[in-house]
């Protein structure tokens, strides 16, 4: 094609999409962005030997890989977390008969198809970037992990097939044995998703805590490298974190819709959806600190240098930021529960206001302890007055014994917030109600005291006793409280009389904002910990095995890293909003075409389950 013809073609294309020009410009910019690697040049220049690194002007290869990897990870967390969430909702609907859970599950599975494709797209981009920018490292990792690469491809095939069957078969498999099969497909989807997560986790954790066999078959070497010291801790941590992410994103979606809908039915629906999302997020959040603690312990035990870099060295300030983000998350989640009590259950405010105040004060005190650093930021003058960077009185709050204690207490408080919400608007009628409540109260008080005593005692015992016995005992105590109070409350409420009906759709707008805030906090947390995990390797691609010899063999300071984290968070939110918009576009069209929301059962919006046969059944 000649140059003139090319120009004419472009002009024709521009005319054809008149009115959509901004989109085209955007797309071209995106294309240009992703084609930037073609401008990359070999860092080795003209020296002999294979190319070890390539770079890219302006943004730099490391930053680009960082952003794409982080976005891929966030999307993957969403894509792997939402099926757990959706499947659980489907099972609740299947066993309990509440159809709205089934509709909720379907609503979110619909998002999966486009989110899944976007995740795979970012995975592909990441792979190309890694191969292009880090050929030596990728060659080494391929040599170690080749068998698991093949397994990963197979898993992807199975996951894709299962997802399509699960989504496209939703309406066709609604009754009888077909429904059982559909639920089984949901299980399979999650089963494959779990393995899709843990296989690449092996590659990433190998870089931090490598186990290298110099001899043996390819399979033996890959297996040894896979089963490295931090593999299972990160598998568990990510699995729980994905549930939390899925739950809070669901909540944020519901929050945004709640703020924008007009009809009462829609408000009720999205209020309820926000509650379910927040509940699932909190449910995961209760277990997440334990998993994180286990991961950090394994890292420290694996290598003192890495452990101190994270917990006491240059990355230690990162954990104060982490405390702040987790604190906001706990506050946001509890605030949402308390708003629920106040607004959804009329008349409950007076009854529970004092309890909410006590819980809030306790949460803030715990958070103050969690956020108090061991080494304080102080001017020279302030440091002189303190006698150093440690405060003589508050310095003791800066170590793990204090942090573990308050994190356990915050979990207990959040759990009790939920129990309070659960009980609100109901009156006990069981004969043993008084005794039951006394037992629950005693369990809670004794457990809280035990957690505090163990925390204080932890200062006076060898570190290994604190880590292996006291910290685990604190976790066990909190677990015991949850496992005791939950069934007791359920039993009490079984015979309880409802004094005030729950009024859905009556939450104030700030409840919607709280849900969005929670989601943003979780995403920020994930970007922060992604930076922590990668930076803890310092100047190693594979810790202690393959050194980073590129110009980027340094850890970026927290300030500059936070810019990338903020960008990743922002861009991920935009991506998710785009996915939601694309996935619901058809429903809006259908709604506008006549199948109005008023025709739906209980006024459930079209996107909640737009299949025609379902509407007919309603």
């Amino acid at each position: 094609m000649s140059g003139i013809q090319e120009v004419e073609t472009i002009q024709w294309a521009l005319r054809a999409i008149r009115g959509q020009g901004r989109w085209l410009v955007g797309l071209l910019l995106m294309a240009g962005w992703f084609l930037l690697p073609s401008l990359g040049f070999a860092a080795e220049g003209t020296t002999a030997g294979p190319t070890e690194y390539r770079d890219i002007p302006y943004i730099g290869s490391r930053n680009l890989v960082w952003i794409v990897a982080q976005l891929h990870l966030l999307l993957a967390g969403f894509v792997l977390g939402v099926p757990i969430f959706a499947w659980l909702c489907e099972v609740i609907a299947w066993r309990g008969g509440e159809k709205r859970y089934d509709k909720l599950a379907k609503e979110f599975t619909k998002l999966l198809t486009s989110a899944y494709a976007t995740t795979a797209l970012f995975g592909g981009i990441l792979l190309f970037l890694l191969v292009a920018f880090y050929p030596k490292l990728m060659n080494y990792l391929t040599d170690v992990f080749f068998p698991s690469f093949l397994l990963y491809c197979l898993l992807f095939l199975f996951e894709t097939a299962t997802l399509y069957l699960y989504w496209y078969g939703w309406d066709a498999m609604q009754h009888g044995r077909k429904k059982t099969l559909h639920v089984f497909l949901g299980f399979l989807l999650n089963f494959f998703a779990l393995f899709i997560m843990i296989v690449p986790n092996a590659w990433a954790t190998f870089q931090s805590s490598p186990v290298v066999l110099s001899e043996g078959t390819a399979f033996e070497r890959a297996w040894a490298a896979t089963w490295n010291p931090t593999w299972w801790p990160i598998n568990i941590h990510r699995l729980i974190a994905n549930v939390v992410l899925g739950g809070y994103i669901c909540g944020a979606y519901a929050g945004v819709r709640y703020l924008s809908v007009k009809s009462t039915e829609d408000r009720e629906h999205y209020d309820w959806m926000g509650y379910v999302g927040n509940f699932i997020g909190v449910f995961g959040l209760l277990a997440l600190p334990f998993a994180g603690y286990w991961l950090m312990r394994e890292i420290y035990q694996y290598n003192q240098q890495m452990g101190i870099t994270l917990m006491g060295g240059f990355l230690s300030w990162l954990f104060i930021i982490q405390a702040m983000l987790i604190g906001v998350l706990f506050l946001g989640s509890n605030y949402y529960f308390w708003l629920g009590i106040t607004h959804r259950i009329p008349g409950s405010e007076a009854k529970y206001r004092r309890a909410m105040l006590m819980m809030l004060i306790s949460l803030l005190l715990c958070l103050a302890v969690w956020m108090t650093p061991h080494s304080l930021v102080a001017s020279i003058e302030e440091a002189q007055k303190m006698g150093g960077a440690h405060h003589p009185l508050l310095g003791v709050l800066g170590v793990m014994s204090a942090k573990m204690t308050v994190s356990n207490l915050m979990i207990l408080i959040t759990f009790m917030s939920f129990v309070m919400y659960w009980r609100a608007g109901k009156q006990d009628t069981a004969g043993w109600a008084k005794l039951g409540k006394a037992v629950m109260g005693a369990v809670l008080v004794v457990a809280s005291l035990a957690v505090i005593v163990l925390g204080i005692w932890g200062y006076f015992v060898p570190a290994i006793v604190r880590i292996n016995y006291f910290s685990t005992s604190q976790v066990a105590i909190v677990g015991f409280v949850i496992l005791t109070i939950t069934p007791l409350t359920a039993l009490l409420l079984k015979s309880a009389k409802t004094t005030t009906e729950m009024v859905w759709g009556s939450m104030p707008p700030r409840a919607g904002y709280a849900l969005v805030l929670n989601a943003v906090m979780v995403i920020l947390l994930m970007t922060l910990m992604g930076y922590a995990r990668s930076s803890s390797r310092v100047h190693w691609h594979v810790y202690g095995v393959m050194r980073d010899t590129s110009p980027y063999a340094y850890s970026p300071a927290l300030g500059s890293a936070s810019l990338i984290m903020a960008f990743c968070t922002f861009f991920f939110c935009i991506l998710v909003a785009f996915i939601f918009w694309v996935a619901t576009m058809g429903d809006k069209y259908k709604t506008a075409g006549g199948a109005g929301k008023g025709e739906l059962p209980h006024g459930i919006p079209a996107m909640a389950g737009g299949a025609p046969e379902e509407r007919a059944q309603g």
Partner: protein, 238 residues
Amino acid sequence: MGALGKPIILMVGMYAFLKFVLPNIPGSAPLPSSLIFLYLLLTASGIVIFETLSGESKDAFWGPIQRFLTGENIGGLQALRYGVFILFPLLVGWQTYGSTAVSDLPPTESRTIHPAPPGEYTGLSNPVPKTPENIMQGKGFYAAYCSPCHGGNFDGKGPAARGYIPAPANFADPTTIAMLQESYLFWRIKKGGVGLPIEGAPWKSAMPRWEVELPDEWIWKIIMGEYDGAHQSPRTWE
């Protein structure tokens, strides 16, 4: 202004407590402004959360602020309102100027107290048997070489300690050597302040580089003596 009174009193009370009461508790010291700001931020968050739980409390809390800012039915407070409108931007400007203007004060301390040790020290374990004789010998070496700064009671209050900022480490404090492995202490004693890595900048440690004066075996014995004398145990994984 009734509903606003309590939060204002709470904030002022909290500030007074952090600024004037807490530092005067025996064994305490003045808090750095960063920590005071952090605690005040938490207090303010708590106030906003609690006051916005119900519609009534939210209106009672925000209502006076809103009325004051809009000037609706505030009567004689109009002059104060204009005063706030003039003073607030000036305050922000003054804060901005104060935080960005060139100053002759030294920069804020952001030293990493416990930087990560070099890789070659991470796998080391104490080769000296933990016998009463070796511990006693270690305490003797400690008394000769370390106690002038770190103190005969292992509390960081040796006769020379007052001459140093930051003060020598207090080994009896459960948040110092009890958090570390023996190999970490071996590295710090052997290499001293000059051996700190770049993340330990600005290398404010007067710790001598003991490797030029003491053999490794003595250093290991000193470590045993320190832990025993300070009634602490090193971090181990078994």
